[in-house]
């Protein structure tokens, strides 16, 4: 569903940690519904902090933040009912099996037991985890773990999905599997905010990219716009030129 109202909108988002200075120094984002938006930047740029704030896991000092039409500061429950979050830490339970993970999180999403089982079946099928469903997750490969993490984040078909460095540390094959899954999601109309430090990933998946560095937005546009704005051939070059100029 694409409407005029952005699925994610922030203005002047600021946050500082005591003793560590500003983590975010005025982040403006406007992500149209149904698109994949990239948040690109080096380690420590403020990508994860932004995602944690938008996912109601962290507070912010000033500015405004809206997700799926809900005010992040005032309506946490409303936001939580409409989002999914997955990422580099793959927060699934390593001791439980893939199926037990899905059923547990489905139950915590307020599904009935039978509904939860059916949803688990569906997601196991979709993420090619049927065979591994009965095995403890800690025996999974990195890619399988990340796919399960993604499956868990999609239990309630969220309007907005946050993917925090979903392919960091994955081998090339697993990375492509995750990319395929993200593309499929975008095709089905989910809004995705993807943080990454891989320029190739942003180039392939995102319709627009916000480049951040040291808590500030340094550039924004389509991958092609960002490349041509600096006369470079690829995003790597663009990124280096933009962050150096900032």
């Amino acid at each position: 569903m694409i409407t005029d109202e952005p699925a994610i909108w922030t203005q002047g988002l600021r946050k500082s940690y005591p003793g560590r200075g500003a983590a975010l120094d005025g982040i403006d984002l406007a992500v149209p519904a149904g698109t994949v938006h990239g948040l690109l930047g080096p380690n420590g740029a403020g990508k994860t902090t932004t995602v944690r704030i938008l996912a109601t896991l962290a507070s912010f000092d000033s500015g405004q933040a809206w997700v799926a039409g809900r005010n992040v500061a005032r309506d946490r429950a409303g936001v939580r009912a409409r989002i999914g979050i997955a990422g580099q830490y793959a927060a699934v339970d390593g001791v439980l099996t893939g199926r037990q993970n899905l059923e547990m999180f489905a139950r915590l999403h307020r599904m009935r037991a039978r509904e939860a089982r059916a949803r688990a079946d569906e997601l196991l099928e979709r993420f090619d985890l049927v065979e591994a469903a009965g095995r403890p997750v800690r025996g999974y490969s990195g890619g399988m773990r990340r796919r399960l993490d993604l499956a868990v984040s999609l239990i309630r078909s969220p309007r907005v999905l946050f993917l925090d460095e979903p392919t960091t540390g994955l081998d090339p094959r697993s990375r492509i599997e995750v990319w395929d899954a993200v593309r499929e999601l975008a095709d089905s109309g989910t809004t995705v905010l993807l943080t990454t430090q891989y320029l190739e990933e942003a180039d392939r998946l995102c319709s627009r990219i916000t480049m951040v560095d040291r808590g500030r937005v340094v550039a924004e546009g389509t991958p092609a716009e960002l490349k041509s704005s600096v006369g470079g051939r690829d995003l790597d070059e663009a990124f280096l030129l933009i962050t150096e100029g900032a």
Binding site: S59, R80, A113, R114
Partner: protein, 284 residues
């Protein structure tokens, strides 16, 4: 046991009515508790390790040191063991703190707690599930200890009512210690730190009326030992089991039954809100 049966279906969503919020908190708590119990079943070695503490304690204190302690107390070994067992029941409840702390610290590290916080579930259930799992585990541990104690000649003299009341007090104490462990798990830097702090359980478990009566301790130790929440539960359960070899001499000892309820309730009343506040501020 009811560990593996499923909860009844959730009620249809009924807005934010107060009643339905409590129902949801209960169901969420059970779902989270089931996760922790599945962990124990999936890692039987860990369960075995947990259950070994009380068994070893009976063997060590009952038999290795028991005869000597009995001499110091002017009672025969059998009578000392009857005095000892209620102490070991409570001691086992205290040792559970380590398990709880490590489990919570692991969930903070692994990101599972963050994921739960991002769900539209009841916030208190994220932590209360751990407490419920601990209480169920405590019932299993106490059943084993009771059987083991009976095997070694321990018995309750005042009937089934007293036994049930005593077990209730022990489980209440475990619930209080569970909230202490949950709070500590949210405060420590990680599961490794939690393991290193484990030694702190020893004074809690032993500077109390558990293994030896407080009269046999030096005066400066006898006072904190008497006021240790563990002591109240131990003395109260000794009374309820009819295992009173040594009469209580302090004010807090004379009011053990009341204190055995008040202490745990006070501990929960302090630790639960602190843990919830800490959970909200986690990673902020």
């Amino acid at each position: 046991m009811t560990v593996f049966t499923d909860v009844p279906d959730r009620p249809i969503e009924a807005g934010n009515a107060h009643g339905s919020r409590i129902t949801w908190a209960t169901v969420d708590t059970w779902v989270v508790a089931k996760r922790h119990l599945l962990h124990l079943v999936r890692r039987p070695d860990e369960l075995l390790g947990t259950l070994m503490i009380p068994v070893m304690a009976v063997a060590m204190f009952g038999f290795v040191f028991g005869e000597a302690f009995g001499v110091a107390m002017n009672v025969p070994g059998e009578e000392y063991r009857e005095f000892l067992l209620p102490g070991l029941f409570a001691l086992t409840m205290a040792f559970g703190i380590g398990n709880t702390t490590i489990s919570v610290a692991e969930d903070v590290r692994g990101g599972v707690l963050d994921r739960m916080r991002s769900l539209p579930m009841s916030p208190v259930a994220v932590l209360a599930g751990r407490a419920l799992a601990d209480v169920i585990l405590a019932v299993v541990e106490l059943s084993i200890l009771l059987a083991l104690g009976t095997l070694f000649g321990w018995q309750a003299h005042l009937g089934i009512g007293g036994v049930i009341a005593a077990l209730g007090l022990l489980v209440l104490l475990r619930m209080a210690f569970s909230w202490v462990g949950i709070l500590l798990g949210l405060l420590v830097s990680g599961p490794e730190a939690a393991m290193k702090y484990f030694a702190l359980v020893f004074p809690l478990a032993m500077v109390a009326d558990t293994i030896v009566p407080t009269d046999l301790m030096p005066d400066w130790l006898a006072l904190p030992a008497a006021w240790n929440p563990l002591s109240s539960t131990v003395i109260a359960t000794r009374e309820l089991f009819g295992n009173t070899a040594v009469p209580a001499t302090t004010w807090v000892g004379e009011h053990a039954l009341t204190m055995a309820v008040l202490w745990p309730v006070a501990i929960i009343a302090i630790c639960l809100p602190l843990a919830m506040a800490r959970l909200r501020r986690l990673g902020r």
